[in-house]
């Protein structure tokens, strides 16, 4: 770089460094999001001509029982998956927070569920869930429990799907919490021991507060991703039976790519974005409150 160029760069470094990324974001992300808003203001059956209807799609959604069902299912799915992942993840982290051989192997195994191709994994789970021919029911029956309908039942469709999500992401939560646990200085525990604290109290007053910030980060990550879950639901149940497992995401996809109503689908996605934004802001505020 020439002398002058270098100096220009240095003076404006803080704008120039992020500039390419910002341009990419504007074009690739902001652009489509705004386009989505534009589409949502129209009634557009793909293959026909778009017709401007202002907020028509939005009011239609608010009066559409299927929209509320989708919203409910979205929060139902997240409401089961994320807390279970956090609690189980913490338990597993505590379990593995000790000296033993094969730590690298354990780390690798823990990573596998989250890096495996979701579509492939989902298809295998679908096979395992089959009420007549799947291996999960075989296990249930072999310990004397009755067969379950799993994802074939309106009642158990979403809980069964959360099983897949929990299987996939709990290890990641465990890894994050494990790293946090290992960062807790042992002096704290020794001091507590001297003061006469039992293991439960040590856990409550030392362990939990120390890992709080990492836990909140893991919580935010998982909550956002769980709200947006698409692959496993689409592949395993396609939102069924009926609409029992149809989250807003899946409903929007069906509306846009199977019913070909692009305008309505776009409005549904904006509702979902607002929901996700709301949740992340809410959870983020937890980060800043004092430990």
């Amino acid at each position: 770089m020439t002398e002058r160029a270098a100096r220009f760069f240095d003076r404006n470094a803080q704008w120039l460094f992020p500039l390419p990324a910002v341009i990419a974001i504007i074009v690739l992300i902001l652009g489509p999001v705004l386009a989505n808003v534009y589409i949502s203001l129209h009634d557009w059956f793909i293959g026909g001509t778009p017709k401007f209807i202002g907020l028509g799609n939005f009011s239609r959604a608010l009066h559409d029982g299927r929209f509320w069902n989708g919203l409910k299912n979205t929060f139902y799915f997240t409401g089961i998956a994320v807390p279970v992942e956090m609690v189980l993840g913490l338990g597993i982290a505590v379990l593995f927070n000790r000296d033993f051989h094969g730590k690298a192997l354990v780390r690798t195994i823990s990573l596998l569920p989250m890096v495996a191709t979701p579509v492939a994994i989902a298809l295998i789970w679908a096979l395992m869930f089959n009420p007549s021919l799947g291996v999960l029911n075989y296990f249930l029956q072999s310990v004397g429990l009755p067969r379950s309908l799993w994802v074939a039942s309106s009642q158990f469709a979403i809980p069964s799907l959360t099983l897949v999500d929990i299987w996939e992401w709990t290890p990641m939560v465990a890894l994050i919490l494990l790293a946090a646990l290992q960062g807790v200085p042992s002096e704290l525990y020794e001091a507590a021991l001297i003061d006469g604290a039992g293991p439960l109290q040590a856990f409550r007053f030392i362990t939990l507060p120390s890992i709080r910030s990492a836990a909140v980060v893991a919580l935010i990550l998982r909550a956002i991703d769980a709200l947006k879950t698409f692959d496993i639901i689409y592949v395993i149940t396609q939102g069924g039976p009926g609409t029992a497992s149809e989250t807003l995401n899946v409903f929007a996809f069906k509306t846009g790519f199977e019913f070909f109503r692009a305008g309505y689908a776009a409005s549904l996605l904006i509702f979902l974005l607002v929901a996700v934004l709301g949740v992340s802001i809410l959870l983020n505020s937890m980060r800043r409150s004092p430990a």
Binding site: G47, P131, L133, P241
Partner: protein, 431 residues
């Protein structure tokens, strides 16, 4: 000298002109040599059948062919996106008029073939339109004008286990709905379902419509509103739900054709009702157990109160209206559906829609007689409206599918169908 040269030239010219005109009157496979065409295909047994034969076509015509295949949902999405955008890189595609016909015809995305058929230089003289099943060919006609050729005639039939029937003391396959119910009750034992059928929402509609029609119901009233909440429709759905809830397998609401056919192939159902094209699964040692392969029987749809009213699903090939090479695309279609190829297709398990293939002794020797009978009985009276003749077909199927799921979960049939009809009427009104 010069006069003779001119004379010679004139005669030569005339001769040349006459010869060109004469050869232009003949059909020539090589007419479009050097062009390239692209077809969008469903991932379907026909596609698997025709793909390896494409080099033969390329050699015959000098036209380069690309067949792009996708699983059904993705195939429909892509085809719609490309057809609606007027992509000239799409020359032809597989299509089911019963599903998207109205949408594509109204929008003008398919190309009518009348001008080609009337032009002897464009149509193979061996192409015999009368050889195609009349019903199937009619699904490719609009206002009497042909817009494609059928490649498959599919209908749903009863698959049943002859050995289990014998054990239960039942003499023959059920011929009425009442018999079907009674037989299923007798055959349900332990983990073996008496009867299984699709119940997975929208996917199940193509099967239940057979029951709907046989009970006297239909998709639409004369005024174009939904007839799904008619008395006959309620009867059909109630019967179907009763049958499956009492004598069916667990979890019917999650069953589409893969689950239904696997169940039968594994010997876990005494009877199923689904597409006749799935005969290939039941006779394949890699997919069905020995006892099933040895004992599978086929029978036509049992008759309901309004008679035996099956539907037929027709797949075919059509030319994209925006194509740059419609002539070459037409050449591919008429080659792929020539008598010779259709014969081979039927032998490969694709229920081709032409009479000569079904009469082919090589075929009649290898196919089970009861399958041939059941299929042909169905074809003879088959109704092509396996979907209502409207544009927003997926939404209509979805609405009916919701009612099916509700019924299978034990909810009352009448309100569920009322809801379906209401949703459908709204969708149709918004068009």
């Amino acid at each position: 000298m010069r006069r003779r040269l001119i004379g010679f030239l004139v005669v030569a010219g005339l001769l040349f002109a006459t010869l060109s005109v004469a050869s232009a009157q003949q059909f020539n496979w090589q007419k479009y040599s050097g062009t390239s065409i692209r077809f969008l295909m469903d991932q379907h047994p026909f596609t698997n059948f025709i793909k390896p034969l494409v080099p033969q076509f390329e050699k015959l015509t000098g036209i380069k062919v690309t067949l792009e295949a996708y699983p059904e949902n993705q195939f429909r999405q892509r085809r719609l996106l490309e057809a609606s955008s007027g992509a000239d890189s799409l020359d032809g595609y597989m299509i089911m008029p019963g599903q998207v016909g109205k949408q594509y015809l109204d929008a003008g995305w398919v190309r009518y073939l009348g001008d080609y058929l009337n032009d002897p230089t464009m149509t193979d003289p061996n192409l015999d339109l009368n050889d195609f099943f009349g019903g199937a060919l009619n699904t490719f006609k609009h206002d009497g004008k042909l817009f494609g050729l059928p490649l498959q005639n599919e209908t749903s039939i009863l698959f049943y286990r002859k050995d289990l029937f014998k054990q239960a003391g039942i003499g023959r396959a059920p011929t009425t709905m009442a018999e079907l119910l009674a037989d299923a009750a007798l055959l349900k034992k332990g983990n073996t379902a008496g009867f299984a059928m699709r119940g997975k929402g929208a996917n199940a509609t193509s099967q239940i419509v057979n029951f709907l029609m046989s009970f006297g119901g239909d998709w639409l009233n004369a005024d174009g509103t939904s007839a799904l909440n008619s008395y006959q429709s309620q009867q059909a759905l109630a019967f179907y739900a009763d049958l499956l809830r009492h004598y069916g397998p667990p979890g019917p609401t999650n069953m589409s054709w893969p689950e239904v056919t696997s169940l039968f192939a594994q010997g876990q159902a005494a009877m199923i009702f689904d597409g006749n094209v799935f005969r290939s699964i039941m006779e394949d040692p890699k997919q069905a157990t020995q006892v099933v392969r040895d004992n599978v029987g086929y029978a036509p749809l049992p008759a309901g109160p309004a008679g035996m009213k099956p539907v037929v699903l027709v797949w075919g090939l059509a030319v994209n209206h925006a194509s740059k090479n419609p002539g070459a695309a037409w050449y591919f279609i008429q080659w792929a559906l020539s008598k010779a190829n259709q014969e081979k297709a039927l032998l490969a398990g694709v229920p081709a829609a032409c009479t000569s293939a079904w009469n082919n002794p090589e075929f009649t020797k290898t196919a089970p007689q009861d399958w041939i009978d059941a299929s042909q009985k169905s074809f003879a009276v088959g109704n092509p409206n396996w979907n209502p003749p409207v544009v927003p077909v997926p939404e209509v199927r979805d609405a009916y599918g919701q009612a099916i799921v509700a019924a299978l979960e034990g909810k009352p049939v009448a309100p569920a169908l009322d809801q379906a009809a209401k949703t459908i009427n709204q969708v149709l009104a918004n068009q």
